[in-house]
């Protein structure tokens, strides 16, 4: 915690707050009927994306999932473009062609949300490989869920990363569920450290409600990767606040499950507590950020609503570079 400067702490808080407000707002607007398609929200999991991406620069790349908004924001993708993309507008990050499940910004090192569970990990081996071949110290990070941790593509990527000794980190965001299915049931290993060992890499578990725990765990793995030490596996234990996707009635969850987590372990609450108790930040500084972020998100929705849908002329563009 102490290694982070005040500005970095403010950045971390702003990042988490931005993700939270973005997601809460998308939830509300979806309920009102303004947003089309499948939308999977990251609210509750903010400390994971933030704690990990704080270590990264634009050359480092991440691969994300269907639940990608948080990773995008943490990796520096423009919030205005993201909101417009989720609304399917021409001002969106992907000109409205991708939508929530396909937001990407390669300039920011964001290789895409992904509609295919397990789609990202093999791609991240390629990112690691490119860095390795070029002799840079860049890394690739694959975010994926507990459900995705059983997908063959994910498992293959883990083996390959070790065999090729790639600068890749495999981050399983274990939120306890894949859709309705418990990770206690679907993941056959006793602990993810065992699974990591089965692929020859170190595996650590950290508390995903605690930004600092994530930040430190990721820092070590990323440092090792940057210096040629090869891949690592990190389990981040956390919880999602909303349903699997918007519209999910969540009857598979325990009574008051989410309320309890919110009250006891909310990552923003815990962060505030830690930094104010340690006198690192003032509550008022964070309140100011809250206000700025609220305005930003508000503006993003207004702009997205006001923006035009993509012109039908663009239906056939952007598919091949040359044809």
């Amino acid at each position: 915690m102490s290694e982070l400067s005040k500005n970095q702490l403010l950045d971390a808080y702003r990042m988490m707050r931005t993700i939270r407000d973005f997601e809460v707002r998308v939830h509300d607007e979806f309920a009102k009927g303004g947003i089309p398609g499948f939308v999977h929200l990251y609210a509750g999991e903010e400390a994971s994306a933030t704690g990990i991406c704080m270590h990264l620069n634009d050359e480092d790349r991440i691969a994300s999932t269907h639940r990608g908004h948080g990773h995008c924001i943490a990796k520096g993708v423009d919030v205005m473009g993201m909101m417009a993309e989720i609304y399917g507008k021409e001002t969106g990050t992907c000109k409205g062609k991708g939508g929530s499940m396909h937001i990407a910004d390669l300039d920011r090192g964001m290789l895409g949300a992904n509609g295919i569970v397990g789609g990202g990990p093999p791609l991240i081996c390629g990112v690691g490989l490119a860095h390795k071949m070029r002799g840079t110290d860049g890394v690739g990070i694959a975010f994926f869920g507990d459900g995705a941790s059983n997908q063959g593509t994910t498992l293959e990527a883990m083996n390959l990363a070790t065999v090729w000794n790639l600068p890749c980190i495999f981050v399983v965001e274990n939120n306890g569920y894949a859709e309705t299915t418990s990770s206690e049931w679907s993941v056959s290993c006793d602990s993810y450290a065992d699974r990591a060992a089965g692929f020859g890499m170190p595996g650590t578990t950290c508390d995903g409600h605690d930004f600092f725990a994530v930040y430190e765990t990721a820092g070590e793995a990323i440092k090792r990767a940057r210096s040629g030490g090869g891949p690592s596996f990190i389990e981040v234990k956390l919880n999602r606040y909303y349903g699997h996707f918007e519209g999910d009635s969540q009857t598979y969850r325990g009574d008051n499950e989410v309320e309890k987590i919110k009250a006891e372990k909310d990552c923003l609450m815990l962060f505030r507590k830690r930094v104010t108790e340690a006198n690192l930040l003032d509550a008022s500084e964070m309140d100011a950020i809250d206000k700025e972020v609220a305005e930003l998100i508000d503006e993003s929705v207004k702009k997205a609503e006001a923006a035009a849908e993509p012109s039908v002329d663009t239906l056939l563009t952007d598919v091949y570079v040359s044809y």
Binding site: G96, G99, M101, A178, T180, T181, S182, G254, E309
Partner: protein, 334 residues
Amino acid sequence: MARKITYQQAVNEALDQEMARDPSVIVMGEDVVGGQGSPGEMDAWGGVLGVTKGLYAKHGDRIMDTPITESGYIGAAVGAATCGMRPVAELMFIDFMGVCLDQIFNQAGKFKYMFGGKAETPVVIRAMYGAGFRAAAQHSQCLYSVFTHFPGIKVVLPSTPYDVKGLLIQSIRDNDPVMFLEHKMLYTLEGEVPEEPYTIPFGEANLVREGGDVTIVGFGRMVHLAAEVADKLAKEGISCDVIDPRTTSPLDEETILESIENTGRLVVVDESNPRCSMASDIAELAATKAFSSLKAAIQTVTAPHVPTPFAASLEDAYIPSVDQIEAAVRKVLK
């Protein structure tokens, strides 16, 4: 036959009745029950859109949730089928075929031939397909053309609740591997469906509209658009045969060829991307086997050769429309 149920209910009912009839029928897929290992309710979802809801209460462990492991559980369904079970595995979206195709096309589809006839693989793979849900490039594809290309696989594309029930029961009782593809935009469509079980044989097209001027062949959801166009043009005195092949493999070539021989004019409506598609396949059929009857260039109406876009404006332009079909019909009549 007055009872009306939805396309989605017809899937559920067919599964329910076949599970009741035959203990070797089992159902599996991601969250087809829902809540496995979770603190709340079992049967929490009954599939991502609730299609299999309630089957767990009736059939218990014969309907099974799976981890996210399409190669794993679809392979398991295929393996169990060779042991005499009749598994119905749900591949949630057909777009996910890329992570499990080998078990379908190289294993299930080839066993009988490779093994000299000594294997039967009565597996059904149910999957959602089609655009219109604002679900973008990886959750909106058709892909039935790809499965139709593979020998050893049967491909079923029901367009109505009635066909869903009869064709799904046929699929389960059939001794070959079947891809049973459900158009996600049709789930709420209502139609008359008998309560008792019945089968519709594969390879028998449905003549949805009869008329002598133009033959329109459509697939899945496109059948309804084609019928709409036919009804509209009927008022102008233009009469169309609208043919729903119902299964693309096997294909009822006869019904299609007979119609073309009569009309001499063919429009094919296929929601797929156009290259090497069912639109191509039917056009080839006509141009090779009914050429002398053809009076005009064949017209195809398909999605363009691009991925499915997300934005409403683009997706609406991507999907073949009633207007495009009407224009195609007018064109073959010129």
